[in-house]
Symmetry: C2
Subunit: 338 residues, 2 copies
DNA sequence: GCTGGCACTCACATGCGAAGAGTGCCAAGA
DNA sequence: TCTTGGCACTCTTCGCATGTGAGTGCCAGC
């Protein structure tokens, strides 16, 4: 177990390194923080911290920089979440309040997060699986062609074409539309399958094939979790990554384009509260020099999706966590209102 | 006017520079291209080309690199469009054929373009203004709250909430829905305003306010050109920009995030055919060291939107133009089918 | 357990010289 | 008039040696 002072030293190292981007030495540390001890003592502590793997030297005769393990300790034990100031909170609310639809909410959230944290922001669209059905609409585009439109309580709209096995009259369509909505409107996605199970039985024999086709398309749409989309912004902030970023920036950009990777990453964070993943804790190789701070957000008490930021492991964790948490909270409010 | 041989020299310089990314000298030129003259002659030609502003030296005693003006001449007079090979064409078609909906078509197109050109791909969603209405759907969410869903012939769906001035019964809503669709279905957006102008007159006095509100929301949705969205991909290719890219990449990323800039850029290219804008021909400062190759695409003969790539001025113009043209063509086909 | 002192180690900047690529110019030849 | 070979000149780049400074590790003393 590390002594209290050594933890202080680690905290100081993290703070200084995050601020200066340069390895921090014992002398500079004692000058900037009043630890009450001499550089020599700090050197001993640093040596111990290095033995434990919390900090490392880029090369001999250079200062120390925190390791992933060091950041982890910092985040878990040494740093709190820095709350937003009142003006900041007001700015967030104002900015989000102007949104006109779901796309706009997500777009604004991304911009906001990127600006606040000066990092790459990632916002997942409210997930289908946990939301409820607001309305299902069926439109006859041709005698044997129906467009299925699904509207969720979060304002999301999904549409699908359905090619029917047989022509389907407008009366039947209206019937199906009415029956379908009376059963599923307001219900959670998970419950839909069994609610519509026996629906084909209510129709004439000739229409049953079509009804089944429509229903299975609907269920497909509901299940298709991989349809989860996300929006990314603030990639220009990647250029502030560090001096050596030509090498680091590329795999990060690639990973960001592979939305699958990000979705998996967000999905892995089972904790509905804030999750911080640091450097090599992230399975994806291209993101090994980044940290991801994510949190769930939702319209009610329940989280329907995640948002977060991707930045260098050398990031201002308290500030970033504060911004992420605040934004998630306000987005939740906005969604609840609409 | 430049002599034939000098044009050859310019072409050779562009080709070599694009290939090697290094200033090209007279000796290397004569070695790689059989121009039939000696390096000394080429030097004279180069000197003339430099006087005319087609090429420049980064510094004395270095080779020459093409200027924006040089690339312009190259694109206009010296280079054709390199057609895709048969296997490439097949790959394009296969890749795009798997798309399930409009979002997917756009997403696949972006990926494809980025891969083919190894540059940043930009695809505009099929624009609303030039398309036709397939269907307008109205849903009562609450007594005085209606959701308006607009479906276009390109498969795009837009939805809006409408807060009605007065409660609006389901019969009235059904009436409005029917009348609205009979008038506007299949019509071009531009024609919609006058088609629905007198629609409120057909309703009871108490409903007219609501009808007007719904209609004006519809018109707003149609007009809102700034709702034009686009998808961007292949930003990781920016890292191949050049050795000095730390400076160049940042403004480009910023410009790419400002979708407004890109939309303006695409919109400016009035030529429905291919447009190439090179370096300082682009008004936006951050893109001054890039070139943009764009082309319209559409489901019928008419272009409904643009797509293109953003890359360094030092790009393979013939190849890029070939890829852009081919992709646009196939996307048009896909859209026409659906 | 803390502290000051001291030797040691590297990275980094600086300066210098050699090498190399490329140009510009000139005089001769077609 | 255009082309060509030759030659001097200009810069960049690279390698190398050197000096400097930040920072460490260790040790003896308090």
């Amino acid at each position: 177990m590390l002594s209290e002072r050594r933890l202080q030293v680690l905290r100081a190292i993290v703070q200084d390194y995050v601020g200066t981007e340069e390895p921090v030495g014992s002398k500079a540390l004692t000058e900037r923080h009043n630890l009450g001890v001499s550089p020599a003592t700090v050197r001993n502590d640093m040596s111990a911290l290095e033995d434990e793997g919390y900090i490392a030297q880029p090369h001999t005769s250079a200062g120390r920089i925190p390791t992933d393990k060091g950041y982890r300790l910092f985040v878990d034990k040494l740093a709190g979440v820095k709350p937003m100031t009142a003006p900041e909170r007001r700015a967030i609310q104002n900015f989000l309040d102007g949104a006109v639809d779901l796309d706009d909410v997500v777009a604004r959230t991304v911009r906001l997060l990127a600006q606040l944290t000066r990092q790459v922001a990632v916002v997942q669209y409210p997930s289908l699986t946990r939301s409820t059905v607001r309305h299902v609409e069926l439109l006859a585009l041709a005698p044997a062609r129906v467009m299925l439109v699904l509207i969720t309580d979060t304002g999301r709209v999904e549409q699908r074409m359905v090619d029917c096995p047989a022509p389907f009259g407008e009366p039947s369509l209206a019937d199906l539309r009415a029956r379908l909505n009376s059963r599923v409107a307001g219900r959670r996605f998970a419950d839909v399958p069994q609610l519509v199970e026996d629906l084909p039985d209510a129709f004439e024999h000739e229409d049953r094939g079509t009804v089944s086709t429509v229903l299975s398309t609907l269920l497909e749409t509901l299940v298709e979790e991989n349809e989860e989309r996300l929006m990314i912004g603030g990639t220009a902030n990647l250029t502030r990554f560090g001096h050596d970023f030509p090498l680091t920036i590329r795999p990060v950009l690639e990973a960001l384009e592979e939305q699958v990777v990000l979705l998996k990453l967000l999905g892995e964070a089972k904790d509905p509260g804030m999750t911080v993943r640091i450097g090599h804790e992230i399975a994806h190789e291209g993101l090994n020099s980044t940290s991801v701070v994510s949190v769930g957000y939702g319209s009610g008490g329940e989280a329907v999706a995640k948002l977060g930021v991707v930045g260098p492991t050398r990031m201002d964790y308290p500030g970033t966590m504060g911004a992420v948490r605040a934004v998630a909270r306000y987005v939740g409010q906005i969604l609840a209102e609409s």
